[in-house]
Point group: C2
Amino acid sequence: MVVGAGLIGLEMVEALKVRGVQVTVVELLDWVLPALVDKELGLLVGAYLCGEGITVRTSEKVLRFEGDEHGAVARVITSKAEIPADLVLLSIGVRPNVELAQKAGLKIGTTGAIQVNEFLQTSDPNIYAGGDCVENVHRMSGKKVYTPMGSAANKHGRIIADHIMGDANAFPGVLGTAVCKVLGWNVGRTGLSEREAKTLGYDAESIICSGDDRSHFYPGVGRLIIKLVAEKEAGRLLGAQIVGPGDVAKRVEIMVSALTLGTTVRELASFDLAYAPPFSSAMDAIITAANVMQNKMKGLGKSISPLIVKERLDRGDDFVFLDVRSPQEYEAVRIDHPNVVLVPLGKLRQDAGKLPMDKEIIAFCAISLRGYEAQRILEGKGFSNVKFMEGGIAAWPFEKVMNS
Amino acid sequence: MVVGAGLIGLEMVEALKVRGVQVTVVELLDWVLPALVDKELGLLVGAYLCGEGITVRTSEKVLRFEGDEHGAVARVITSKAEIPADLVLLSIGVRPNVELAQKAGLKIGTTGAIQVNEFLQTSDPNIYAGGDCVENVHRMSGKKVYTPMGSAANKHGRIIADHIMGDANAFPGVLGTAVCKVLGWNVGRTGLSEREAKTLGYDAESIICSGDDRSHFYPGVGRLIIKLVAEKEAGRLLGAQIVGPGDVAKRVEIMVSALTLGTTVRELASFDLAYAPPFSSAMDAIITAANVMQNKMKGLGKSISPLIVKERLDRGDDFVFLDVRSPQEYEAVRIDHPNVVLVPLGKLRQDAGKLPMDKEIIAFCAISLRGYEAQRILEGKGFSNVKFMEGGIAAWPFEKVMNS
């Protein structure tokens, strides 16, 4: 059992799983990697792990361990169950070791880590501190954060050496960037999550967009599910989260660069990114995501998150959940709910009359490109209450019927 | 035989080679991918292809073909040789098809492609043109360029549709970005090459820096050889070229983002890139390259390109070519020349006295990290004419003695 589904926890899940160990991961919060990604993407990662044979238990608190007669752990008692376990690994967070700094009388910041200025000087300017024991400034919020990462630690070393040698090279802070590999999926994020942006008072807009990491015909093509967060009026990008089997890290780095330099959604859409079939689509998935966000901001795209759709299905809302994929795609994978109606996009213009004009329609497809097109077509036909579900089935973390 | 070692030519070389075809590529200019990369990196790609069994013939002009009695090609006569060939593929450049535009009386630009404004309107504002038949503006130089790429073509389509629908969304141009895969190597570039930057009148500085694409201990780690170009005083980045078996495309995208937004070398070094061992080093190779460039600009790092070193060896210059690797590394791969002296870095402080203080010393190692350290150590010991060779043996495209 791994307790805590953060970065370290999930890296350990992978390490144990590939050695043939049966793994249960227990997370106190409602989805895996809760500090990294918002709920929509966290649920997707959780669903992927379940599909790989990992037992994922979220919203569950570990209360105590019970041992056997030899003093070894035998079971874990949680808020919901009693789970047998031969080995328990705790990965429940990181705290800075500030003991030495405290003994030296140095100031500890509000995050619990050592307070330093932009040159990594502590409250005693003759004492520098860097690495996982210090706090950083978040480049988006300007606030102090505790984000222990090897990448920042390495930069700290250089800043400190430069300053000692008389080169006042300020450390501008971090973006809370993180990336990890969990079995066959990659998860990355940078900047602010939607939750963080809203907590900080931003009028934040978000979209979820699914795409491919390279040309659809190229061997090894992998899916990406991208969430972008931006300021509603100005369009300035605030953050991004990306999950899936595709090349997540590359798009995270593009977003790191974009956020560092204060880019807007529109600017991102114009980046002259490097296209060749082994590496990307002609229109890279991150550019498509920026375009989908532009469509939403302009009011062309009217969209709804898969989470909200699920809540509304669960409470019995009466709307048409319009699947516009082909019958073959529907046979292979489908969302099983009475609200679902199948009208392939190619037939939508001729069959639109069969859909009720007085009801809300939420269209979707595999990734919701056709879902968006369905929204536009139906609006053209006079329907006034049509949306598409962001990210399509690729971003649907809930039960699906699969025939494979 | 493939005639022309550009993007298309080398993609065809790969396609033929993996099908077991014996391939010769003939290029008029002095190195492969001459429009993409400067000579230092082009020679490396050529050396890699030779190692893979491709016959690479550069600085060679195809004069004519000769056929057999059945009318099939039998041999190619070049400026240097008569080469038997069963099939000849010409990939000698791309010209825009502007016939229709000319017939319509539209203006053709100085590049030979259709002239358009930032909304992709031709000289007749009611006629739009986009894709490989139009010229683009280069975002660094502001000049018109002909860079036919699917990535720009896709963006053009959206710009045109937006403009028709009343949304004046200007297309800001391209960076001349390109990426390709050639067998086990990747090649990418964006912005200005050193040659282009100097032709445009920039006071350009460049460095070559070798590094790894992920943590050195992680399976599948691949080498990257990076060339950065920047303005000498302001430090503004002008371009990047990257080659090697490692993940080139990701670093190209970082550079695309950085160039689009007018970043300096110092800013690049502070990017909070996404670190985890499967994806990068804690200090990503592109950040190390930025730091090496900073060292050079500050005068801390005194470096020399492998091309210049080779020229000087060839003309018999008297300098110490100081290999500071371990004896084991030297046994495995070495540059065979009387000027080479082996002093492992760990012994350099104690053995420095054996080196001549009145001679120029050019230090190197596998990637020239230790080469740089050697320069600094020897300067500390009073040596006044010490440099390191940029990129180390990884960036040496010339003959090496290998024992494997």
